[in-house]
């Protein structure tokens, strides 16, 4: 269902309407952000089923927390943060991320991942989704969302060193996957 309405409410009207429990406004808000947030969910979740759960849980959290929105940043950014946090919570319920001994990882330059740029988004997503849940979390948070290792450490309950190690390993695995993908294409 798409909320058919000629009048597009302003962001504040949308927020106030949702706070008051207006079902139509809730639906409008969902229509406005559901595709973007589902993209976030799919990036973080292990599978589609988990993504659906996070999506559902995330929107309910958004509706319930709207009165806390202070408009200090963008509304979309605020919603996205809720979805990322919900994904992390969901992930932490399932996977315990252990702190690892900080070892010197082979640094992989971001430029080595440039090959991903040439791929379609769905293909990139398929590659990212092949990463283990722990690597995927850190990779998404640091590389895509731009969180610092300190923020990641706080959110995931790990040390900064572990976050860095996980990211380095994630990049290493990605590099191997990309190379394997290249090899397959060349053979084809």
């Amino acid at each position: 269902m798409t909320a058919a309405s000629n009048h597009i409410p302003s962001e504040s009207d949308l927020i106030n309407g949702c706070i008051k429990g207006d079902a139509q406004m809730q639906r409008l808000l969902y229509d406005q952000f559901s595709a973007k947030m589902y993209g976030v969910c799919l990036r973080y979740a292990e599978n589609t089923e988990d993504a659906n759960d996070v999506m559902q849980e995330g929107f309910i959290k958004v509706y319930k927390s709207l009165s806390k929105f202070r408009a200090e940043g963008s509304f979309e950014g605020w919603i996205r943060r809720i979805f990322i946090n919900t994904s992390i919570e969901h992930f932490r319920k399932k996977v315990k991320l252990y702190n690892v001994t900080e070892i010197q990882e082979n640094t992989i330059e971001d430029s080595e991942l440039d090959v991903l740029d040439s791929l379609a988004t769905k293909d990139i997503l398929n590659i990212i989704n092949k990463l283990s849940p722990g690597y995927k979390q850190v990779f998404n948070m640091h590389v895509v969302e731009g969180y610092s290792h300190k923020e990641i450490a706080d959110l995931l309950g790990i040390t900064e060193g572990t976050s860095k190690s996980q990211l380095a390993r994630a990049k290493g695995v990605l590099k191997k996957m990309i190379e394997a993908e290249k090899g397959n294409k060349n053979r084809d």
């Binding site: 799919l42 999506m55 559902q56 319930k64 009165s67 991903l116 740029d117 990139i124």
Partner: protein, 197 residues
Amino acid sequence: MQNFKNKLYNYETPPPDEIWNNISEGMKGEKVINISHYRKSKFIFYAAAAAISLVIIFLGSLVFKNEKTSSSSENIAAREKNISPQKMKDSMFLNQKILESIIHNPKEKKEIVSNDLNQINIHTKYLTIEGPNGRPVKISPKVATLIVYADKEFPPRPVWSDKICKWQQIMLSSTIPPTSAGLADLVQNASNNDKLQ
């Protein structure tokens, strides 16, 4: 930002329809609480609760106090209520007999005049007795009632007779005329005189 990062960051895809159904189902009956308003009103809520508590405590203490003060008189009233009319009549009769025995005490040959002793409404009358020097002394029946209630005994036979006997002895042994017509003064004077002797 590398291109693939942008692609991933902005990746959009429509979710299955069932998700909205589940969300709207989940939101049914959920009242979205305005947290800020809730926090603002929290202080008012606690203040109101404290005020109500104080009022309840104050009213409770008043009720408790009234109950306490009225309980003793209520107990006496209840006890009197439980006394059968016959028992009451017997008690009155006994008291009257005691008074008559005081009035017609043959041993001391003193005459104590009773005033309308036979009247039922005895509480409105005074008993007039003769003092040591023949002076009339009025005794309010309230005094007897006071003694009765003070001793919390009903029927007041033993108390009544004991007190009256004591007063009678004091009064009969006294040679000093009372300066007042009150029984209390009379007893006091007689008692002081006894001590001086």
